[in-house]
């Protein structure tokens, strides 16, 4: 069991708890930088992980830290994507400026959404963001001039300061840079007064107000910040996906974002990353499994004879190749996590770490949830 002996207040403020943690993260960074050489065929998927990581981070700030649950983040992603493509391709603006403008525009829309949201609590806010997302999707459908409507819009590769980024590796590094930047910024805000104010709003609005927190300003700021980050991710997403169409930015995508936040663990930055990894890599996993699982079942049941094995393999193959399976698996994962792992992957990781540090004195009851009774949230 390792103790961290703190002698200055600076240590509490620092990004890393001690040199050990800092070295561990540096090693992780080194691995990520070398990844393109080790697994080049999965680079596109990893880029998506990084982009979704940025989205998960933004939603974590809004839902996990400020307590404002949004079911409409796919709309922000879409706004960022379409705006960036319009600014850089249709208007011919330089890449950095286009991304900055797209981020700014998405942040402005975030403020627009956030302002009426001030008067709503809890579930009403979630429903409002859902309505907003559905309206925006229709706007994407209809506004032909900017979005290309139902025909869609092709996206070229990014060209930054005249340097074209054609390779997957270059794009991967670009996304990595944005994600690390986003993490740093978020960490900074969370250890500063604004981040504390957000957490206060999540836990007790009345107390936060009595301590001088202007609810309207901080909630709007949370929305703007979250929307801005998602907008930036949208710009990158446009390049990653190569072709924009309105039916990418559906409610189902918003639900996937929320899934990232829940699976990763509400209220922690690590959780955002774990969640993004899970949700972004899940389709890859499912398609790999679709190819291999029938054979495994076949081999397993081949013990009972060759024909039995083949029959089982064929049956399982028919089952997993059905088109409606994927959303069902997402739903199942969501349900299982909420039932059994409400604190997400990060919560499970904390418990595992505690087990090893307390070994052999760990008691499962440490984390046992007290039986809690529902109290009305209507009267807030």
């Amino acid at each position: 069991m390792r103790f961290v002996f703190k002698t200055t207040y600076q240590q509490d403020l620092a990004l890393f708890r001690d040199k050990f943690q800092r070295d561990w993260y540096l090693a992780l960074m080194a691995c990520l930088l070398v990844l393109p050489m080790l697994l080049p065929e999965y680079l596109v998927d990893f880029s998506l992980v990084l982009i979704f990581g940025l989205c998960a981070l933004s939603l974590m700030v809004l839902a996990g830290f400020t307590g404002l649950v949004s079911l409409g983040h796919a709309a922000f992603l879409g706004i960022g994507a379409y705006a960036h493509v319009y600014f850089s391709q249709d208007l011919g603006l330089p890449w950095i400026l286009s991304v900055a403008l797209a981020t700014g525009l998405t942040a402005a829309v975030g403020v627009l959404v956030g302002t009426p949201a001030l008067r709503m609590t809890g579930i009403y806010l979630t429903i409002a963001t859902l309505a907003f997302a559905l309206i925006i999707q229709e706007v994407f459908n209809r506004w032909d001039a900017v979005t290309g409507g139902l025909r869609g819009k092709a996206v070229e590769k990014p060209v930054i300061f005249g340097v074209a980024l054609h390779s997957d590796a270059a794009f991967y590094f670009l996304c990595l840079a944005f994600l690390v930047g986003g993490l740093w910024i978020t960490r900074n805000v969370l250890r500063a007064p604004t981040g504390r104010a957000w957490v206060a709003i999540r836990d007790s609005e009345i107390a936060a107000e009595s301590m001088g927190v202007n609810l309207a300003v901080y909630k709007t700021m949370a929305f703007a910040c979250s929307a801005a980050m998602t907008g930036t991710a949208g710009a990158l997403f446009a390049h990653q996906v190569g072709f924009l169409a309105p039916d990418i930015f559906t409610v189902l995508l918003s639900i996937q974002f929320l899934l990232m936040v829940v699976v990763g663990g509400l209220g922690s930055l690590h959780g955002a990353i774990y969640g993004a990894i899970c949700v972004a890599l899940l389709p890859v996993l499912i398609s790999e499994a679709r190819d291999r699982v029938p054979d495994w079942f076949g081999q397993l049941f081949g013990v009972f004879g060759k024909s039995a094995g083949l029959a089982v393999a064929a049956a399982v193959d028919r089952f997993v190749k059905q088109p409606g399976l994927e959303p069902g698996i997402f739903g199942l994962i969501l349900v299982l996590f909420i039932l059994f792992e409400p604190q997400g992957i990060y919560g499970r990781w904390v418990k595992v770490k505690l087990y090893f540090s307390l070994f052999p004195l760990y008691k499962r009851a440490t984390f046992a949830r007290q039986k809690s009774y529902m109290k009305s949230e209507r009267l807030r």
Binding site: E138, V262, P327, F330, L334, V335, I338, L339, K375, S376
Partner: protein
Amino acid sequence: MDGRRRPVLDIIVQLTLNALAVGCIYGLVALGFVLIYKATELVNFAQGDLMMLGAFTCYMFVVWYGIGYWPAFALAVAIIGLFGAALDWLILRRVIGQPQFALVMLTIGLGAIFRSLASMTWGSEIYTLPTPFSAHQTMVGGVSVSHEYLSIILGTVILCAVLYAFFTHTRLGVAMQAASQNQLAAYYMGIPVKRVFSLIWAISAGVAAIAGVLLAPVSLIDINLGFIGLKAFAAAVLGGFGSIPGALAGGVTIGMIELFSGAYLPQGFKDVAAYVVLLIVLVVRPQGMFGTVGRKRV
């Protein structure tokens, strides 16, 4: 009754009935939301998908097993009602006490699972349900009135009346309110909270199934039927998320608003009219038409 057909009036009446009927469906789904919300303060995002399951189950009994329409209707409602109770008993009971957000995510996940199961059981094509009302009309004052719309409107009114009577004249309604505001105190008062909740879920699921079966002849059955649930949100919020008549009134209002947006506004507004209304209501008057505002005591 001069026997002449009046085509313009005909169209207007048809459209109005259509809007009323669709509004009634919104109202029924909103009703399901309201029932569960009043009891457990949970918004059941899977309500629309329960409606879809109801429609499919009835279809299965009528088309695959050849049972008559009315018995199939009753069977479908009963099965989905039991399914709702089982859902509460097996899954939702374990998560009571968690923050509302987690419960919302849970129902969203359940909805996705229902859609997936439906697509695996019944396939992902579009189906039609043969009913005694399909393609039947009556002439009233020179205007043709379609039986399908009539069945929806009448069915909704009857169901709402029955439910209203049930909740105002039994102790269950009061027990429901108590359990929703302070569970622990309700337990102390001897209210079998868990059983009350399961019953509420059974009723709400049954109402969803009824809505699904009534809707089936008008809108075709497919796994995405549940997305009507999103518009029903607008109905529930408009009605104040607190009462049976409110939900129905909200639903009919949304139906009418959609009708007029389709008639007078440019294309595409009809689809989003419900959501725009939802946003406006949430901003201007969050308690809707009939709801009340509560405030926490500190």
